[in-house]
């Protein structure tokens, strides 16, 4: 940290990383729930749903990057790019599914009365709000990453490894559903 820049209070640094960890945890939970919906309840994801999952993974990547390098806001920037991508895809899908018509009858089952693309809009707006609040409260770069071996560092590493694990599961699932071609919601291409 430069001499001209005042040192940030430890509580502010801790709160900042806590917010990031919480965002990563919530995103990991949402992505896990999506996998559970897919395999336990037979909700085969549409191509735009898969792209929305991709955007959430990209957001996780940015948060993970930010958690490991607290000296700049590059990770937050990457997360914001993917959050905007999530918002654009989910809004377009919501507008596509507004009126079921031939070729666009499938919109999946609602959760608490709200369909998945609309939930994605809420998630994207919540992420944007989360990043905005975080930047408004804690500002720019201020902290060095935690020391290796610290409990919070191990927790973060565990969470990031879990996100990579569900990303690998999603990749296998996409190959199973779509092969290397176009995706369809009619079934799994590689399953009999």
């Amino acid at each position: 940290m430069s001499a001209s820049q005042p040192a940030e209070a430890p509580i502010a640094v801790a709160l900042d990383s806590l917010i990031l960890r919480l965002m990563l945890l919530i995103l990991a939970g949402i992505l896990t729930a999506a996998m559970v919906m897919q395999y336990a309840f037979g909700e085969i994801p549409c191509p735009l749903c898969l792209l929305q999952r991709f955007a959430m993974f990209g957001c996780c990547f940015g948060i993970a990057l930010q958690l490991r390098s607290g000296t700049n806001e590059r990770g937050t920037g990457i997360s914001l790019i993917f959050t905007i991508l999530l918002l654009v895809i989910s809004v377009r899908q919501t507008l596509l599914d507004l009126f079921p018509r031939p070729g666009h009858e499938y919109v999946g089952s609602p959760i608490f009365g709200i369909h998945m693309p609309v939930w994605s809009v809420f998630i994207a707006v919540a992420l944007l709000l989360g990043f905005a609040i975080r930047l408004a409260l804690f500002g720019g770069p201020h902290s060095a990453p935690e020391a290796e071996g610290a409990p919070m560092h191990r927790l973060t590493q565990g969470l990031i490894t879990y996100v990579v694990f569900i990303c690998a599961i999603n990749f296998l699932s996409v190959v199973l559903q779509c092969g290397i071609g176009e995706c369809h919601t009619s079934g799994y291409l590689l399953l009999p």
């Binding site: 990057l65 990457i78 596509l96 507004l98 071609g181 995706c183």
Partner: protein, 69 residues
């Protein structure tokens, strides 16, 4: 196509875990470009282009006089 989007994303995550941060970010942006291309290809219709003609908007009666003047 979707498989390549997820494959590049997974490679980006693995490179990041391996400490190759610059390569990881490059791979992530490659996957982003593939995703944007796939998204645009998916929503493009030969009949409508990128438009959504099933969404019809009308000027509300209260504003109609203002609109015509």
């Amino acid at each position: 196509m979707m498989a390549s989007v997820y494959a590049t994303l997974l490679i980006a995550f693995i490179l990041d875990l391996s400490g190759l941060r610059r390569s990881a970010v490059t791979c992530l942006f490659l996957s982003l470009a593939l995703c944007v291309w796939l998204f645009l290809w998916k929503i493009y219709s030969p009949d409508y282009g990128f438009r959504m003609p099933w969404l019809q908007a009308e000027v509300a009666p209260i504003f109609a006089p203002l609109w015509s003047s």
